[in-house]
Amino acid sequence: MHVTDVIRRSGRSLRSAKARTILTSLAIAVGGFTLTATLAAGNGVREYTNRLVASNFDPAELIIGRDKEVSNTGAPDTKPKEYDESVASLTVSGDGSSVQIKQVTQSDLDELRSLPYIEQIRENYQLSIRYITRSGQKRFTLSAQTFNPAQKPELKAGVLPSSADFAAGEIALPDGYVSVLGFADANEAIGQEISLNIAQQFNGGSAEELLVKIRGGQDISMLAPAEKNLSFKIVAITKKAATSINFGTLPVLLSSQDAKEVYDFTTSGSANYGKFMFVNAHIKDGADSNRIVEAQSDLTARGYFTLSSKEIQQSITQIVNFLQILVGVFGLITVVASIFGIVNTQYISVLERTREIGLMKALGMRSRDVRRLFMLEAGWIGFLGGVIGSGAALIVGSLLNPWITTKLDLGAGNSLLVFEPIQIVLLILSLVIVAIVAGFLPARKAAKLDPIEALRTE
C-alpha cells in the first residue's frame, strides 16, 4: 500500500471518531501551547535584551575595572583582601554587608591612556549634587550622570547632540522636573536656566585637631565646607525610554566637562578622589569585534577586569535561556503525559476495528502497512494537537501582546511574545513524530492480529 493511501485512510478513520480524536489531541495541544508560548517568550526576551544592550552600550566600548566584583555576577568574593589605598568598601545590601572593591586609580588611568588601542577613556564619575533649583522655585533632590552617547534617552522636547558630548553648561532634564520647577510644559523649559548646588566635603581634619583649634580661639568658620551654584541651560527634556536599564530616578545628564568639575569639587581631598569602580574605554576600530577581543586579552594580562557589551548581552541571554528551559521542561512533561493518552486511544481503536484489520489483512494488506496505518493515525492526532496548541498560543499571544507590552512597560514596538513560523513548524513536526512513536505499541498489536481470529469476532 502506498504511503499516501495509508495517510489518507488513517486520516479518514480518525474523522469517524471525531470526539475521541479531538479529546486525545487536546492533551498534546496543551504541551504544544506551552512549548509555543515558551519559544515565543524566549524569542521576545532575547530580542528585547539585544535592543536593550544595543541602546545602552556602545559595542566599541569596554568596561574596565580592577576587580571582577564590578560586574557583580555570582557570589561575592568574601575573602579578606590585602590593604591597598585603592580598595573601597561598598555596601551591597540592606543588612549592612559590604564587598571590598579594588578601584581604578589615577596611575591605572595613565597606563590605560598610554595603550595604543584605547582611543578615549570616560571616567565613571559619581556625581553628588545637593539639589536642583531655579529662581523663585523650591529645591529638589536629583541624581546625575555624565551623558553617555551610547545611551539614547527618549526625548520629550529639545535635541541631543548626535554623537559627541554636550557643550559645557548644557543639561538634559528628566520630564519629572518640568512642572515642579515651574515650567508650563517641556517645550517652554528648553533654553531656560536652572542651577545645581554642589558642596565640598568637610575637610577640617580630625576631631582632636578641631578641638585644639577651637580651644586656641581660632576662627573655624572658614573650615565649613564650601558650596557652589552652577548654572545650566536646558537643551533637552528626557523621559523614560522603553529600553532604559535605569530603574531608579531618571538622571540629569551633564557634559563630561561639567561632570568632571562637579566631581572634582565635591570629592577632592576625600579618600576615593580620583578612583573609579570602572571606566569606559573606547577601543580603536572597536566596531570590529576582533579588536575588542584583542584589547580584552591584553587588558586581562595587565590585571584588569573587562566587560564587553557582547558579554553583558550573553550574561543576560544566559538567564533568559535558563528560564526558558525551565518552562520548556513543564511543556515537555505535558507532552509525555499526553503520550499515554494517545497509546490508550489507539489501543481502543485497534480493539474497535479488529474486524476491519482482519478484513484488510485477508485482502492481502501487509502487516507493515497495517502498522503504518495505526502509527500514522497517531501521527494525525499529534498533528492536530500541535496545530490546535500552537494556533491557540498564536491567537492568545497576539491578543495579549499589546496588554503585556503596556503592563511591563516594554515600550511601543516591543512584544514579549515573538512567534517564529519555522519554530512552530518544527514544533508541530516533532509532536507528530512523538505521537507516531507513541502509536507504535497499539500499531504493533494491530499488525500482529491473526486475520482469522479477527474476522471471527462478531
Binding site: M1, H2, R12, E356, L359, L363, M365, R366, L455
Partner: protein
C-alpha cells in the same frame, strides 16, 4: 487450478488437540463454482482459510495456480492474495463510516493498483452490483442486501481469479439472498473467476458445479453437476 493434497489441520497441543481437517484432498478447476457444505464445526471454514492462504495446514500442501502457498514468504503471499483472491463474508465487513466508493477502493489500494485507473474500476464494480447511485453514500445507510452487494463489488473490483464467499447469504432474507447469489454467479460467468462458497444451505449448494461435503474434517461426499470448468 487449486490443488489441495492430503491437508490436515490440527489445533491445540498434546492432549487438547482438535483435528479440524483430516487428510483432505481436492482439485478445483479454474472458473468453476464450488460449494463446501457441512454442519458448523465440520471444518468447512478452515478449508476455505487454508485455500485462501490465511491459515497454514499442519500437513499437506495447497497449490494455487501452480504455486504452493506454504512455500511463499508472507510478503509474497500477501501480494498474491491482494492480486488474485478476494473474500465475501456473512457479516459483510464493510466500513460503515466510509462511502461505498471508499469501501470498494480498499483492495485497489492494497494491491497498489495505479492511481489513475482506480476510479474507473470502482465505478465498474459498483455498476456491476447496481450500486452506482449509492457511490457517495455512507455504507451505514445501506440495507443488508445492499451491504452484501457492496462487499461483492469490493471483492470483484480487482478482477481476482478466486472469490471465496463464506455464508454470503447467511444474514439475508431469502429474496435478498437470491439476488446476492445471482450477482455472485453472474460475476463468475462474466469474469471467469473461480467461486468457492462455504454454506450449509443445500439449495444454494445444488446450484454450484461442484459440491464438497465435510464432516468432522473429512470429505464425506463429492458431487459434480454436469461438465465442470472451462478446461
Amino acid at each position: 487450478m487449486i490443488k489441495v493434497k492430503n491437508v490436515s489441520k490440527i489445533y491445540g497441543k498434546k492432549a487438547n488437540t482438535f483435528r479440524a481437517l483430516d487428510d483432505v484432498s481436492l482439485e478445483i478447476p479454474d472458473g468453476s463454482t464450488v460449494a463446501i457444505v457441512g454442519k458448523s464445526g465440520s471444518g468447512k471454514s478452515t478449508l476455505m482459510h487454508v485455500m485462501g492462504g490465511l491459515d497454514h495446514p499442519t500437513s499437506g500442501t495447497v497449490t494455487v495456480g501452480g504455486k504452493q502457498l506454504s512455500k511463499m514468504k508472507p510478503k509474497v503471499l500477501d501480494a498474491f492474495r491482494a492480486g488474485e483472491m478476494s473474500f465475501v463474508f456473512q457479516a459483510f465487513f464493510v466500513e460503515a463510516n466510509q462511502t461505498c466508493f471508499q469501501n470498494v477502493m480498499l483492495p485497489l489500494e492494497i494491491a497498489e493498483v495505479s492511481r489513475s485507473s482506480r476510479a474507473a474500476k470502482v465505478k465498474e464494480a459498483l455498476a456491476a452490483v447496481q450500486l452506482s447511485e449509492k457511490s457517495h453514500a455512507k455504507a451505514r445507510n445501506l440495507s443488508g442486501g445492499q451491504k452484501q452487494r457492496l462487499a461483492i463489488a469490493r471483492s470483484i473490483v480487482n478482477k481476482p481469479k478466486l472469490i471465496f464467499a463464506d455464508e454470503p447469504t447467511g444474514n439475508l432474507d431469502s429474496v435478498t439472498g437470491e439476488a446476492v447469489m445471482k450477482t455472485l454467479f453472474d460475476m463468475n460467468k462474466k469474469l471467469g473467476s473461480t467461486l468457492i462458497i462455504v454454506t450449509h444451505d443445500h439449495d444454494l449448494a445444488a446450484r454450484c458445479q461442484m459440491q464438497v461435503e465435510l464432516k468432522d474434517g473429512k470429505i464425506v461426499n463429492r458431487k459434480k453437476a454436469g461438465k465442470v470448468g472451462k478446461k
